[in-house]
């Protein structure tokens, strides 16, 4: 356990040791702020049932940086170690392969959470300035942010897998981007089948990230997406573990 914490700490530090981290944080903050602003402008123009929280988490301006950010966060995880050869010193220290995979994954998750943390402030400031709540109930916040983390976990694990596949970071980023986009665009399927038979609609709902986010940010909690994202994350990490081991062994 101590070794795992050492590894995890090293991974987290690695993120914050690079100037690139702060550039990403800065631009991400700008983008999410722009998104928040756009949401408010739209709501001002035509007020409706939608809450500010719901508006924030369901726009193109939200999804666009959301999908783009994962390859950037994960591309170096394994690729860089392969390239520098540090994988050899790392794996001849008494650590398990699984520990390394989970430490790298959790390290990226911590950075991902740090990336999103400032967005909570938008809602606090909104309340300070307007004296109104951004959502009717606390469940909206909890739902939206827990979905943010759940989807984040799944997509980060895809990024880990892509990085474990190659020692070229650009290739890793491309693979991650392709896989994540595929998963994301699958979620649009459920909108095509809005009027289709109920079975098809049920089926597409299972992997429709956009619908999940919509429901959760309204404060509706559903166990199905939770189970879906958690199990997919574990499965992808399991694959990563095997790819990592295989690459090292065939070498």
């Amino acid at each position: 356990m101590k070794r795992f914490l050492t590894l995890l700490l090293r991974e987290i530090r690695h993120y914050f040791h690079q100037p690139l981290a702060y550039i990403v944080l800065f631009f991400f903050l700008l983008l999410t702020a722009a998104n928040f602003h756009a949401g408010l402008v739209a709501l001002n123009r035509e007020p409706g049932e939608t809450s500010v929280v719901e508006a924030f988490f369901n726009t193109v301006l939200f999804w666009f940086p959301f999908v783009l950010i994962f390859p950037l966060l994960t591309m170096r995880l394994f690729s860089e170690e392969y390239k520098l050869g540090t994988i050899e010193t790392l794996m001849t220290a008494p650590v398990r392969d699984g520990q390394v995979v989970v430490a790298k994954f959790l390290g990226s998750l911590v950075f991902y959470i740090v990336l999103w943390a400032p967005s909570v402030l938008y809602f606090v400031i909104f309340r300070q300035v307007t004296g109104q709540n951004a959502a009717d109930a606390i469940g909206s916040y909890l739902g939206a942010y827990s979905m943010l983390i759940l989807v984040g976990m799944f997509y980060l694990s895809i990024g880990c897998l892509a990085s474990a596949l190659t020692k070229n970071q650009i290739v890793a980023a491309t693979i991650a981007f392709a896989l994540i986009s595929l998963m994301f665009f699958l979620s649009l399927l459920s909108f095509f089948f809005l009027k289709a038979s109920s079975t098809l609609r049920e089926l597409t709902y299972y992997f429709s990230t956009i619908e999940h986010m919509g429901e959760f940010s309204r404060g509706l909690f559903d166990t199905r997406p939770v189970v879906f994202y958690l199990s997919m994350t574990i499965f992808t990490l399991f694959l990563t573990h095997h790819v990592f081991q295989y690459r090292r062994w065939k070498n």
């Binding site: 050492t6 540090t86 001849t92 220290a93 008494p94």
Partner: protein, 310 residues
Amino acid sequence: MIKVEKLTKRYGGVTAVDEIDFEVGEGEVVGFLGPNGAGKTTTMRMLACYLPPTSGRAEVAGCDVFRDSLRAREHIGYMPEHVPLPHDMRVNEYLSFRAALKGVPGRRIKERLADVCDLCGLVEVQGRMIAALSKGFRQRVGLADAMIHEPELLILDEPTIGLDPNQIRQARELIKNLRRHHTILLSTHILSEVEMTCSRVIIINRGRLEALDTPENLRSRLSSEGEVLLEARTDDPHAIAKLRSVHGVKDVVQTKLGDWTRFILHVESDPRESLHALAVKEGWPVRELTRRSATLEQVFAEVTQAEEQP
């Protein structure tokens, strides 16, 4: 300390290491020699638990490197070829991280860090970024990392490659000092280094173990055969025939050097005394009569090239 039995590694159809057996006892310094691509690095990687063997087994300090890999790794300090290091850390940060990773208790990390920095001459660069270090210092950081958890066994893959002659001398001194506390297995191309530091030598070629002995024994293996150089002033046209008749001389090559003639004699035993007697009898003035003793270099060449000539 190390026990290797029929260790084999295949990559697809290529056999990199082919059923090698050897043992290394505690406190020994063993040199691992072989041409490039002979399987040195692969063998070392298997011993360091980085690669699993295809078949056969290897034990380090009583732990199987495959089945009991984690425990075996605690006994091993491994320095890979070219010393891969992360670029984003400072020397002391990196070494503390490695110490913690290898299970050095928190309260002892500082002490170990000071010890290895002192031993490897890293005190002056402790606070520097690894990316900014010179090759010589990077090598030392790698060595410091290998021994930070006080392993019984050090596996060093070409520890002196890419160093300048001064640094090589320093590295050699360092290795000599280390053998008091560690068993050492090191691979190198520099044969004089092996003769100076190692108590035993393993020569490996095309994945096969070709020789395993002390440097002295390996040399004496060749010294029954050798060369004798004789430079004498003579115009005797039958000189070669006369030299050939001396017992032990197999072949003679003659070169004219002005007044002098150089004979290179391939000999079986040591016929220098009889050669001297012959020269005296014939009245040839002699300015040189030497026996060229075999170096490890010759042993190496003999052992590794024997198979390449069909």
